[in-house]
Symmetry: C2
Amino acid sequence: LKKLFLIPVPIVDDNADTIPLDTTKVLDTIDLIIAERGKTVRKFIKMMTNTRPISDFEIIEIDEVIQNGIVDYEMLSEYDNVAIMSESGCPCVADPGHLIVLKAHQNNIEIIPLVGPSSIILALMASGFNGQNFVFNGYLSAKKDILDKDLLQLEFKVNKANQTQIFIETPYRNIQMMELITRTLSAHTLVCVASNITSTTQRIITQSVGDWKKTDMDYLKDAIAIFLIGK
Amino acid sequence: LKKLFLIPVPIVDDNADTIPLDTTKVLDTIDLIIAERGKTVRKFIKMMTNTRPISDFEIIEIDEVIQNGIVDYEMLSEYDNVAIMSESGCPCVADPGHLIVLKAHQNNIEIIPLVGPSSIILALMASGFNGQNFVFNGYLSAKKDILDKDLLQLEFKVNKANQTQIFIETPYRNIQMMELITRTLSAHTLVCVASNITSTTQRIITQSVGDWKKTDMDYLKDAIAIFLIGK
């Protein structure tokens, strides 16, 4: 292993123009792709007309490299240029790919992260909230009584430290989440919901909890949404 | 005002290929650009051969729109498509542009964030650290005795909650910061320094505090660096 490239893919399948040239041209040099999901990566490569034919690429799924949290580094050391690609957006943020990166660092391999869409950053930019201090919390608790307290805790951090709070939810639970938010948080607290980012149905709304109470939220059903509390 | 576009620019001046087509093609539709720095934006537009000549663009600096924290929304309402562009990377994260975005939300304007380089996300991807839970802290305290405690607090959050801690420093203080880190944190704590991201001198190293002690850090002098503590 000589170089480990981290290659983003579009967030929405057919949106190849969200990937810059610097990122796609690297594909020509790759000997092995570690994919979160092989199918997504094959689709992406087929769209990139300036690259080699798909049959030229050796693609394995990430589960074949990481087992029980252990990275099979031997397997990778047979290749020069390896890439990690996630199912959506930037790799090694919300997938186990970061374990491979850490292992590569331990072996003094050069790591090259490439530019592409990050729904976290796009949502933060568009929220209007403070970007000098923010937290990405991933998923909050699935237990309702704990979730109440979690949300109040996030609201407290916004008010106390002007620290923007970002989190995600499983799409089919979006509306439940918003109902809980409108019941739990103060009417004047600002909440942004950024849904279906980079798609034609993208919708990014920042308004007070009081205004969210009056908003028809059906459009959030099964949307891919990012939630932000801030000011 | 009809639409507010958030348009990233390259992190390094001459690296236009880090900006995707979806982002650059928007430039053709823009009536007014609010620039963190006019000079940087003019340079960027000149590089983008697929856009209108530079003389066609109306460009004002962000200080002309925001005075004492108040956004002059009247001025913007004379234009249809307005864009905000930062001096480096993604706008409205580490610049006051987010106040304009918030004001636009209050007026129900559509906000369209576009894809481009974010040194925070690139550093996080390449660090090998947990991306499911991370904080961007901006600048830490400039006071040495407080900074000590801040660093220990960040290390505590990494160990307790596996929450990756990201922060920045003024370039001329990078080496001082690393010296303080190596004196203050545990030898086995992992620290990543991602310097000059997307440039030809990019260097991203993740290693233990113990190993940082043995590393020649002269290369960090005046580099644009992002610091991460994680596991």
